[in-house]
């Protein structure tokens, strides 16, 4: 409906509702052709990235430590991206904005703590005592737990609210988040518990000092993204995308919409658990509600920035938002401006800008 051509205050029912966009890959156009089309399609993203690069140059000129900023931005951005990726998948499959995406990560991370404590809640985890192999096995377990919880949420709550408005489902996922936080508070109190990383210390690459943990997060994000892209190319992945696009048509071809939505929730739950384990590692500690209070709002912003429902957009949006947040921090500190919590302010401004000027996000396509 092109009533949006009018500029009256209420071109009614012009609800900003973004249809999922199918990745129309598989065309055999020439490379330069594809490149130019890709540039045209992603021009908004390129403008944003360009703005970041220009600002960074200005900051170098002003003598700020841009290298450290980039590294910090990558660490935060990769976690935003991981949480946002789960949000995008769930949104695409079930049109639900999952407020519990953070807690589906904190909860499995707490289970990891519980196991490391051997069930002794008054004990203390010494990160130095946790081996790499142990950490790997526990992360695997966390992913299984996160995925199972997410599937349960889908089957017992989301599917039963299928006929309600998306906002009702949002409230329900908020309820799940509150429930999980409540359980954590009852089991672990409000005190912070130490949490191990895969590798501690830092590595110098190209003259920049990278904390090892940041590199681990970036690698996990990269592997997860590649695996997802691979999945979307298999029969199962195509069925998943088709079911998200049109559940009825997919059912006619023998694809169970319920199973496909559970698959999407399961993957998202696994990603949430990875985010939880790695996010707790960032702080080397964990408190109830950690992922919700520290990463969720940024992840939502990243998902919207990338065009909600677009997995690739979520990753791009998360990485970009990480840089924007780090830049806000470095700039305000560098210029001596006292702004409480500049990264949060930056995320808020980005969200308003995106919703104000391009609700479809970076990779979302015009309706």
């Amino acid at each position: 409906m092109s009533a949006s051509t009018t500029d009256r205050p209420a071109p009614l029912e012009a609800e900003v509702d973004v249809p999922p966009t199918g990745d129309g890959s598989g065309d055999r156009a020439g490379l330069s052709d594809r490149l130019s089309r890709s540039v045209a399609e992603h021009r908004v993203g390129l403008i944003w990235s360009g703005a970041v690069v220009v600002l960074a140059a200005a900051m170098i000129a002003a003598g700020m430590d841009v290298g450290a900023m980039l590294v910090n931005g990558l660490g935060a951005g990769a976690i935003y991206a991981m949480v946002a990726l789960g949000i995008a998948l769930v949104y695409r499959a079930t049109r639900v904005l999952n407020f519990a995406q953070g807690e589906l990560g904190t909860m499995p991370a707490f289970v990891v703590v519980l196991i490391l404590l051997g069930g002794d809640l008054d004990g203390f985890v010494d990160p130095a005592q946790v081996s790499f192999g142990q950490m790997l096995a526990l992360t695997g377990l966390a992913v299984v737990i996160g995925a199972s919880m997410a599937v349960a949420v889908n089957l017992f709550i989301i599917q039963r609210l299928a006929d309600s408005s998306p906002v009702t489902s949002l409230v329900a996922t908020a309820g799940v988040a509150l429930l999980l936080i409540g359980v954590q508070v009852v089991a672990f109190d409000l005190q912070s518990r130490t949490f191990p990383q895969f590798f501690s210390g830092s590595i110098r690459i190209l003259g920049l000092r990278f904390p090892s943990h940041t590199l681990v997060i970036a690698c996990v994000l990269a592997v997860a993204s590649v695996l997802l892209v691979g999945l979307f190319r298999t029969r199962l992945g195509v069925a998943l995308l088709a079911s998200a696009q049109d559940p009825f048509a997919a059912e006619l071809h023998g694809v169970s919409a319920k199973a496909m939505s559970s698959l999407a929730w399961g993957i998202a739950g696994g990603l949430a658990a990875l985010g939880g384990v790695l996010g707790a590692g960032v702080f080397e500690g964990i408190t109830p509600g950690l992922m919700t209070t520290t990463f969720l709002v940024h992840a939502f912003t990243a998902a919207v920035l990338g065009g909600i429902g677009s997995p690739a957009g979520a990753v791009a949006g998360g990485l970009l938002l990480g840089q924007v947040s780090a830049m806000a921090n470095t700039t305000t500190v560098g210029l001596g401006i006292s702004v409480p919590n500049a990264p949060t302010l930056a995320a808020f401004v980005v969200l308003l800008l995106v919703l104000g000027f391009r609700p479809l996000g970076l990779l979302g396509k015009e309706a």
Binding site: P9, A10, L12, E13, E15, V16, D17, L97, F156, I157, R160, L161, S164, S165, P166, V167, T168, L170, V171, A172, A174, G175, V176, A177, L178, L179, I181, G182, V183, V185, V186, G289, T292, T293, V297, F300, T301, V304, V339, P340, N341, T344, L345, A347, F348, L351, L352, L355, G356, P359
Partner: protein
């Protein structure tokens, strides 16, 4: 008939005059017997009296809890104007409340102005922030608006309330009670009066043309516009009303403990408000206030139970778990919430006859927990 019309010049054509005037257009169903009216009045007066004497009966240490319950009841009513009447969800009410509280604190402590000025400033600030959000709501709605409100709550919590000259930063801002109500008992009654005011405002809103127009907008802006309703004006009016209630609640909230600190207004508090409204029954005045009372009192009830009875399985620390489970239960199984549970009673008390087949569908309890986008 035109003689009784208030605006003779604009009096619409009386369609009754066109054909045969029909006599008995006042339907039977609108009438109550004198006894019915008397019974309802008596029951309502008793209920009101009972609520009124509660602060006198409870242990002195519990009086501040009652004041908090009343204030949260006001916030629930405020949120209900948005969720129940306009169909837009707000995750930003912690910010509304906080802006009112810090505004009042600033005026009382930093400017040393009288208490009523603090209250007035809090209301103005509540209206201002709600109006800003309302302007955003003219452009985005549904999930996107929910995200904006969430971001607003987080922004207020971590950025706005952290600005030390205005809010005192982590140490907080003091906010003294009015000189005529410094005691806990007196102040609890002040908060009850605030709740009564918000209740009356909400009642008048729903009973007059503004409330009808707002609820019509929720269902269809096209239809409302085709009936001559200015969509922009009434949507903003809803936000402004909600903001005024929340700002007032903030001012009263500030003086319960007489210190306002940023940590109180975490965005998670907004989720608690949302639980009160959904579990109470979206769109129902009685329901959302009951929901607020339930959620505010729950930790204390559980603690009291655990202290008194050995068999009691949980204490106050489990309140959030139980509260969240209640929310999920209501969403999946009982979309009408508490208001649905008490629907016949609420209907009877609103001076409606019991005979009608259709429950309190539109008059008191709204359309269930489905938030219309």
């Amino acid at each position: 008939m035109s003689a009784t019309t208030v605006r003779p010049s604009a009096a619409p054509r009386d369609l009754g005059a066109a054909g045969t005037p029909r006599a008995n257009v006042e339907a039977q169903s609108e009438r109550l017997t004198t006894g019915g009216v008397a019974a309802r009045t008596a029951v309502l007066a008793l209920a009101l009296g009972a609520v009124g004497v509660i602060p006198l009966l409870v242990a002195p240490l519990t009086r501040n809890l009652l004041a908090t319950t009343a204030v949260y009841g006001m916030v629930a009513l405020s949120l209900n104007v948005l969720v129940g009447y306009t169909g837009q969800v707000s995750l930003g009410h912690s910010a509304f409340l906080g802006v009112g509280a810090f505004g009042a604190g600033f005026v009382l402590t930093q400017l040393a102005l009288p208490w009523f000025v603090g209250v007035a400033v809090a209301v103005v600030l509540g209206v201002a922030i709600a109006a800003l959000l309302g302007i955003v709501a003219l452009r985005v709605r549904g999930l996107y608006l929910a995200l904006v409100t969430l971001a607003l709550a987080v922004f207020a919590e971590r950025v706005l309330f952290g600005i030390e000259p205005l809010t005192g930063g982590g140490a907080g801002q003091t906010a003294a009670r009015p000189a005529w109500a410094t005691g806990d008992l007196a102040y609890a009654y002040v908060c009850f009066a605030g709740l009564a005011f918000a209740w009356l405002l909400d009642w008048r809103l729903t009973a007059s043309k503004a409330g009808r127009a707002i609820r019509a907008l929720r269902d269809s802006e096209r239809v409302a516009a085709s009936w001559g309703i200015d969509v922009t004006r009434y949507k903003l009016l809803a936000f402004v009303t909600s903001g005024a209630m929340a700002g007032l609640a903030g001012a009263l909230f500030a003086s319960i403990t007489e210190i306002v600190s940023p940590i109180t207004f975490s965005f998670m508090l907004s989720l608690s408000f949302l639980m009160m409204v959904v579990v109470g029954g979206i769109g129902s005045r009685v329901g959302v206030v009951l929901g607020a009372a339930l959620y505010t009192a729950l930790p204390f009830i559980l603690d009291a139970g655990a202290a008194r009875y050995g068999w009691f399985p949980v204490d106050g620390s489990a309140a959030q778990v139980i509260g969240a489970l209640l929310l999920l239960l209501v969403l999946v199984r009982f979309p009408g919430g508490l208001a649905q549970l008490f629907a016949p009673l609420i209907r009877w008390c609103s001076f409606k006859p019991m005979r009608s087949r259709h429950g309190a569908a539109s008059a008191t309890a709204g359309g269930g927990s489905d938030v219309r986008p």
